[in-house]
């Protein structure tokens, strides 16, 4: 700290009376010690000031989460309250199937910029789940088996290369993975399976899987390593092979942790934007077929946000989707994190 006169220090020196000091700054009130350390009062003041500032700045993290929710939800509020927005869209029209033309059968449709704006959420929600599910089906077996390998079979040297390499995969920007899915994976899948749509849920899902492999791997590996040694020793002593021990004893014992890993991966996959935006084809089609194009909630926000009227119905709906995404990922991360936290405590307890 500089030695210049900060206001607090000045107050200190101008009013050396113990009584006034006590009423002024709480932590300066300590009695002067018998040993006279140089500039003791000033140093105490700096210390108290620093403590206060540090606690105040630590509040930023809480403020950030609160502000994110407040300001995203604030822009979404007109969906529920504004009569102007209600002329275009209501919650009912977003959720229930609508007859968009006179006499037409009710259907779900997302076409916010057509003559009659259509805001059915069903295709987007279904699309998000479809892509996320494909990502999990692709990533979870790979990541969990790789975690089992590194926890049970890999020699230390191999393990020490595998871990950073998978961390590196986590460091690859999602726009690069999206680019890879778009340029390479899409062509590869089209050539192998003879698909009609080059960009589809399968391509996006596999690309998305690449982003969640690191999370699932890391958390699963922690869970597998946390299984007590005695379990393994007991199984081996009973005559089981290492393979049998890994599959029938260690993996089942680590199930809660692996489950937490999957939940965290799910939350991550659901909110991922760039890969899906680039490789899914972005057509809001309500279908269970993984080979057709699909549009997810994050991709919808990313694609449409740039062209909406500030404060209009479409704008509010996009923020509404954002709030939805925020809350759902919060729940999934909370669940996963709770499990992981419990796991860590257990490991800490037995170690």
């Amino acid at each position: 700290m500089s030695r210049s006169r900060t206001p607090i220090v000045q107050a200190e020196e101008e009013a050396p009376m113990p009584a006034t000091r006590e009423s002024g700054l709480e932590l300066v009130a300590a009695p002067r010690p018998a040993t006279t350390l140089p500039r003791y009062a000033r140093r105490r003041a700096v210390d108290a000031f620093a403590r206060w500032i540090i606690a105040a700045i630590a509040f930023t993290a809480i403020a950030a989460v609160a502000l994110i929710f407040l300001f995203v939800a604030k822009e979404a509020l007109p969906v529920f309250t504004s009569p102007e927005v209600h002329e275009e869209v209501t919650v009912e029209r977003m959720v229930l199937p609508q007859a968009w033309k006179e006499g037409a059968a009710p259907s779900f449709s997302w076409q916010p910029v057509s003559k009659v704006p259509k805001y059915s959420l069903a295709p987007l929600v279904a699309g998000t789940f479809k892509v996320t599910l494909i990502a999990l089906l692709f990533a979870v077996p790979l990541a969990v088996m790789a975690a089992l390998f590194s926890a049970e079979f890999a020699p230390p040297r191999v393990r020490e290369t595998l871990k950073p390499a998978i961390e590196l995969l986590a460091g690859v920007p999602s726009v690069v993975l999206g680019f890879f899915a778009l340029m390479v994976l899409a062509t590869f899948f089209q050539d192998t399976f003879g698909l009609t749509f080059r960009l589809n849920a399968l391509v996006a899902g596999v690309g998305l899987g690449l982003t969640i492999i690191p999370v699932v791997y890391t958390v699963s590996e922690d869970a597998l390593i946390a299984v007590p040694r005695s379990y393994r020793e007991a199984a081996l002593a009973l005559g089981a092979s290492r393979a049998r021990t890994a599959w029938s004893v260690v993996l089942p014992a680590a199930t809660p942790g692996v489950f937490a890993a999957i939940v965290l991966g799910f939350g991550r996959a659901m909110g991922e934007t760039m890969i899906v935006l680039m490789a899914s084809g972005n057509a809001a089609i309500l279908s269970a077929d993984p080979m057709v194009s699909v549009r997810t909630i994050p991709a919808t926000i990313a694609a449409e946000m740039g062209e909406v009227v500030v404060g209009g119905a479409h704008w509010s709906v996009l923020f509404f989707l954002g709030s939805l995404l925020f809350l759902v990922t919060l729940v999934f991360n909370g669940l996963g994190g709770w499990y992981v936290g419990r796991l860590r405590k257990k490991v800490g307890g037995t170690a």
Partner: protein, 303 residues
Amino acid sequence: MRLTRLTPHERANIAFGGFTASAALVIMAVLAFIVWDVLSQGLPRLSWEFVSAAPRDGMTAGGIFPAIFGTVLLVLIMTAAVIPVGVITAIFLFEYAKPDSLFARAVRSAVYNLAGVPSIVFGLFGVGFFIQFVGGNLDRLFSDGQVIWGQPAILWAALTLAVLTLPVVIVATEEALRTVPREHREAALALGSTRFEALWKVVLPQAVPGILTGAILAVARGAGETAPILFTGAAYFLPHLPTSGHDQFMHLGYHVYVLATQSPDIEATKPILYGTVLVLLLVTVILNLLAIGLRNRLRKQRA
């Protein structure tokens, strides 16, 4: 031949161990393939002109200098904002707060939840809070309704990214503080220093390498994130470099996104596209390797 002499146990171990190893191998192979594909197609494109010139002829020739410049500037502003706040929050959590106090637990859970918020929601937050609320009010107060700050700008994009990378810095700094032996703090306090002096002169200098790791990780993350800046300040093409906080900017990730998805002639832009991806990948991979290496060395030192 040898296989027949193995016991059933050994055969099972080799089979299942091999099966799990192949899963690990597939992941490695995909990573290697991505790097190889980008390297082999992007490397021929890399030249001094490519990294030092502006794009020409409708993005089919020239370089990507404005995108590199924009990304670097963006990340610098972000770092300036996130490092002090992140480091101080970690100091609070590790050095000052009682671990089970309500406030400390609230901060901790906020940091955890912040790390899980989807990046596109950060983009919406940037629009709703920084551009509409902060920028809009700045304009109303100081520029008579003229729109200066209430529009997408590099400052808002950088601050949005700062909020996004806050957990990275906090987690890394906390780990760094944990490596400083408790005895050092006790020795400083026993010699009569205040708590802040012990922190400032004894603990923090030792934690600098760890904090640096966090900073590098944050920079790598910030340089690669594209979704949050889509509508908080990135532009596809600008004739001028950004010179002030309320200018828009070009960005490597956004450049990749637009070139890959909105180019009318993908074959003509493909070389530039691969070159840009290579630069972005190099920057993030090198930074990540640096951080991982630094952290592993620190961990070994401690053990």
